[in-house]
């Protein structure tokens, strides 16, 4: 009995605490502050980040549960029913019903999208959650790992056979990482430059290392940038009367044909023919045509390390040659090739539109590679413009690599092929939708859309087919699912495709019922009851 009493006492304390007005004020204030914070996060970082950080996070759900407790116990401590509190009971019953309806939706509802390409059947609904699919095609097996709904990097600590899943990045951007090399090679240097003028700036990462994700050439509008071994700069700097440059790819040395007294002849078609000795045989080049040597039939061949360039080929259009800590280019105003040396942090003025090139980094002992790094996303007009990538770090037999969203990676382990695919969760509908036509009307004389309309055929298996017209505020309802016109896209073939949002909400009835109770209760409590009170007050006076 005493145990029962103490339990009851304890319960009453809990009831009084959670049902108190002060607890209500605290929990409502905390809830409002969290929401306000969430809207700012959404504004800067996008909807998905705000959902991961606030709205669908565990602490926020705890706050909602606190609200639920406050509403529930505030009602319980005011029982048995009192006539003047009927409105109050109705409001609180409405709120409890809305909470329960929302919980049912959260647990059992479906909120996704279906992409309809014209005349192609579709039945896959894409959901918002991410998963990593590990497929073993030879065994016909697939392992699916649900990825956590978190705002920041998360250690997964998951392993399957000899595969380990290490870190999940929900928002990532590829950034440059330097990978150290064991043996330094002056022929495999890498540099980062900034090319800029008053209105424009672009960072260039260039490398000669074969394992790098970057290249040794890059094009920026009309400007071609070439990255070459440092030893070649002298050939560009030294004036060469014939404008030719012989390059030995084996030892990265260069020379002028005139300097070495190489045999030069002019062919009947006016093109230069240059001959050099290599391993006791003569190699012929047509430098005005190609840097590669030619055989007797004047066909190009790659069998030797020698190349001959005609610098004239690079005098017409803007070409910038970078050699690590040197730069060379043809200056039309001086009608001459010029070369400049510069250190890290230094810059060289270029003869095009006030551009300069600045050396930001230069390394012999490492090469640059691209690796996903976590970033806080940035949104603009509802689109994620920074951090629109997810990535999972995978380790297989001691070797780590990154699997990026929508970019499957295949890996061979002991002759067995394994693919990794980071993608969105899908569910399959028991029927198919085919987009017959997508129609978009514009406001007269403008490109502003006035309406989006999808004409679809629903294939219901044995139950036949039916035609439907889906447009804004006119969804299609079929077997508990509702399809709403959401967006559109341009297909490669030309016609427009349609994106429908797909929804199944088992909590809908309860949310509607709760809302109705809430509104009626508010009117009863705040307006009708006050009116009666006013009358009573007046009668009293």
């Amino acid at each position: 009995m005493s145990l029962m009493n103490s339990i009851l006492n304890y319960y009453r304390k809990v009831e009084l605490f959670f049902g108190s007005l002060k607890f209500a004020v605290i929990i409502i204030t905390l809830f409002a502050l969290s929401l306000a914070y969430g809207t700012f996060m959404e504004s800067y970082h996008g909807t998905e980040y705000a959902n991961r950080l606030i709205y669908k996070s565990l602490p926020f759900m705890g706050l909602q549960f606190g609200m639920f407790l406050s509403i529930l116990f505030a009602t319980l401590i005011r029982l048995p029913p009192k006539k003047h509190l009927y409105g109050f009971y109705m409001i609180h019953a409405g709120l409890i019903t809305v909470f329960l309806g929302s919980y049912v939706t959260y647990q059992s509802g479906v909120d996704g999208t279906i992409t309809l390409t014209p005349n192609l059947p579709a039945r896959q609904i894409q959901l918002g959650d991410d998963e990593l699919r590990i497929q073993f095609p030879a065994k016909g097996k697939e392992v699916t790992v649900n990825l956590p709904f978190v705002p920041g990097p998360k250690d997964l600590g998951y392993s399957y056979q000899n595969i380990k899943l290490k870190t999940f990045l929900p928002f990532a951007e590829d950034k440059t990482d330097w990978v150290p090399v064991k043996i330094e090679d002056p022929m495999q240097t890498s540099s980062i430059y900034k090319l800029f003028n008053e209105n424009f700036g672009e960072t260039l990462t260039l490398t000669l290392h074969p394992l790098s994700d970057f290249n040794n050439t890059q094009q920026l509008g009309p400007l071609n940038v070439h990255y070459m071994p440092g030893s070649l700069v002298d050939c560009f700097a030294t004036p060469s009367p014939d404008g030719l440059l012989v390059w030995n790819g084996e030892n990265s040395t260069c020379m002028s044909p005139t300097e070495k007294n190489l045999k030069k002849t002019i062919r009947p078609d006016g093109k230069k023919l240059v001959e050099i000795d290599f391993d006791g045989r003569k190699l012929a080049f047509l430098p005005d045509v190609s840097p590669l040597p030619v055989n007797e039939k004047l066909e190009l061949t790659e069998s030797t390390p020698y190349r001959i360039f005609s610098k004239k080929l690079f005098e017409g259009k803007p070409h910038l040659f970078l050699f690590g800590k040197s730069a060379a280019f043809f200056d039309k105003s001086k009608n001459a090739w010029t070369a400049h040396k510069f250190e890290v942090g230094g810059s060289v003025p270029l003869p095009w539109m006030g551009f300069k090139v600045e050396l930001k980094e230069h390394k012999n002992d490492a090469y640059p590679t691209m690796r996903p790094h976590y970033v806080k996303p940035v949104q603009e007009n509802g689109q994620t413009i920074v951090g629109d990538m997810k990535a999972v770090e995978v380790e297989v037999e001691g070797q780590s690599f990154w699997v990026k969203s929508n970019d499957p990676v295949a890996f061979n382990i002991g002759g067995q092929r394994i693919t990794f695919d980071l993608t969105k969760k899908n569910i399959t509908l028991p029927y198919e939708l085919v987009l017959d036509r997508f129609k978009m009307d514009n406001d007269p004389g403008t490109n502003n859309p006035a309406s989006f309309e999808s004409f679809v055929t629903l294939f219901k298996g044995n139950q036949g087919t039916s035609k439907h017209h889906i447009f804004m505020n006119n969804p299609l309802k079929h077997q508990s699912f509702t399809f709403y016109q959401a967006s559109y896209f341009q297909t490669q073939e030309g016609p427009l495709g349609s994106v429908l949002s797909v929804n199944f909400d088992p909590g809908r009835f309860w949310k509607y019922l709760g809302s109705l109770l809430l509104v009626l209760g508010s009117i009863w409590h705040f307006v009708l009851r006050s009116k009666n009170q006013t009358k009573q007050e007046k009668a009293h006076v």
Binding site: K22, L35, T39, N199, P475, V519, S522
Partner: protein
């Protein structure tokens, strides 16, 4: 330019010098054009274009229509020199364009060569900050100027196969048409325009002219004057009848003006920031009148009139922030039932809460500078509480109606969209105050400043989401220039609170 020499010659041959001068007159105000997806009088298009480019209603001595017409004729080689100065609001953009300190606009001829500089600056801006927005706007102003002077902006009706189609002025004033019109005698250019207008009126009627009357009559300015007079009469005179007459007059004018907007746009007048301000001012006045009928308390009407005049002043003077133009809606909002239920309910709730805010501030200031008896204080608190009750019930209803509309249109009841989230925050803020009012935490002395402060959450939901957060599905009301307004509002409110509550503490 459209075969300028030929057409210019035709024009010169056809029109005397004075006739050329007289063609671009205000008589063109009622000429029908197609612009921004709607058919409207040229006056409206010209006024909107000139205001957008220059921030002014006229160009020098010329009316907007005259300037628009003369600029359009430049496309045909007419030697018209009109000094159009493009407005540049952002200090850093002014620097980029080489403008001097204090220079707020620059002649278009000086800005046109700088388009590439604007484009370059835009390409380097990753974040959508105010600088980037202003660059985009300046580029857009220059594009508008180009469209006018290349005769692309003026889209005129033309009868084809007994149907009215719309073509640009460049396509309209062809050599063929001018020659044909010339053969019929008279001034061919005028003949063409008169015929096009007559064809349009015959096919579509003169309903579009309602918009011309709406802008020319300027009904909201008259409503503002009537409201101001009503306030003065209520305060100055003991007899409440004159004040009541002007209140009714103001309500009548506002109803007529809103009815005109509804007839012009074909939808409920709550679809952009200008219209929400308009409707909230009107709603506050109506709610205050209704409460007065029950409570027999003139303070409500004065509070309603005060908020009404504030709203009307914003509509009149804050054109940089509130665009009075009528534009087609984005597809998802084209539903009059939900517009006229969800949006109007929310705006009416803001109006009721605005009344509580006005009464709270008035009580704070009065009790700071005058002696207010505790009975009077409690009575005033009761008035504020009444307004909040109306506001909270309307807001809860509006938020729920929004959820139902979202469920009906987008398939989810709640999506944490910033606008809906902030509406919920407002509801929570007032709920916290109402709950706290029954605890020792919020006695009447704290209740009043809290109510005054709580309206900042309404302003955040109403303006802040659009001007500061600027994202989400409710993007219909987004516009620039409101951040400063909102910041100033917050600052003034905080100052009022500081001044009035420091006294109490002291």
């Amino acid at each position: 330019m459209y075969k300028p020499i030929t057409i210019l010659l035709l024009m010169i041959l056809s029109m005397s010098a004075s006739a050329q001068m007289k063609f671009c007159t205000d008589e063109l105000d009622s000429y029908p054009v197609l612009a921004g997806g709607r058919e409207k009088p040229l006056y409206v298009l010209a006024s909107e274009s000139v205001r957008f480019m220059t921030g002014e209603n006229r160009v020098g001595d010329l009316s907007a229509t005259e300037a628009f017409c003369k600029l359009s004729l430049k496309a045909f080689g007419m030697p018209t020199e009109i000094p159009v100065s493009i407005k540049v609001d952002h200090v850093d953009v002014r620097k980029l364009l080489g403008m001097k300190d204090g220079e707020t606009s620059r002649e278009v001829a000086l800005l046109m060569p700088m388009v590439s500089r604007i484009e370059s600056a835009l390409s380097t801006q990753k974040e959508n900050n105010s600088y980037k927005k202003e660059l985009t706007k300046v580029r857009s102003r220059l594009s508008t100027y180009q469209a006018i002077t290349e005769a692309r902006a003026w889209v005129t009706p033309v009868k084809k196969d007994n149907k009215i189609e719309f073509v640009t002025l460049g396509e309209f004033l062809t050599e063929e048409r001018l020659m044909a019109a010339r053969s019929s005698g008279g001034n061919p250019v005028e003949t063409l325009f008169k015929q096009a207008k007559a064809d349009y009126l015959q096919a579509k009627g003169d309903g579009y002219l309602l918009e011309l009357k709406y802008y020319q009559w300027n009904p909201f300015m008259w409503a503002m004057l009537a409201t101001l007079l009503a306030i003065i009469l209520f305060v100055v005179m003991k007899n409440k009848l004159p004040g009541t007459i002007f209140t009714v007059l103001s309500i009548g004018i506002q109803i007529a003006a809103m009815a005109m907007r509804v007839m012009i746009s074909g939808r409920a007048p709550v679809t952009n920031m200008y219209e929400t301000v308009m409707f909230s001012g009107f709603g506050a006045l109506i709610i205050s009148c209704i409460i007065t009928l029950y409570r027999k308390e003139i303070a409500f009407v004065i509070a309603g009139l005060s908020f009404n005049v504030l709203a009307l002043m914003m509509m009149k003077f804050a054109n940089g922030m509130l665009d009075p133009g009528i534009s087609p809606l984005v597809p998802v909002l084209r539903d009059n039932f939900w517009l006229s239920t969800h949006v109007t309910t929310v705006i009416l709730s803001y109006a009721a809460l605005a009344l509580s805010w006005m009464l709270a501030n008035s009580l704070l200031i009065r009790s700071r500078f005058q002696t207010v008896s505790s009975t009077d204080y409690r009575y005033q608190v009761g008035l504020i509480y009444t307004c909040i009750k109306f506001g909270v019930v309307l807001l809860a209803t509006g938020v729920i109606l929004g959820g139902v509309w979202a469920d009906y249109s987008w398939g989810r009841f709640w999506g944490w969209d910033p606008k809906e989230t902030w509406s919920l925050i407002v509801l929570l803020v007032y709920m916290a105050i109402l709950h706290g009012k029954f605890t020792s935490w919020i006695p009447p002395q704290r209740f009043v400043p809290l109510v005054a402060a709580a309206f900042m959450s309404v302003m955040m939901a109403w303006f802040g989401v659009n001007y500061i957060l600027a994202s989400g599905l409710h993007s219909y009301g987004f516009s620039e220039g409101g951040a400063i307004f909102l910041g100033s509002f917050f600052l003034i409110q905080v100052l009022v609170l500081a001044v009035t509550t420091i006294k109490r503490t002291a």
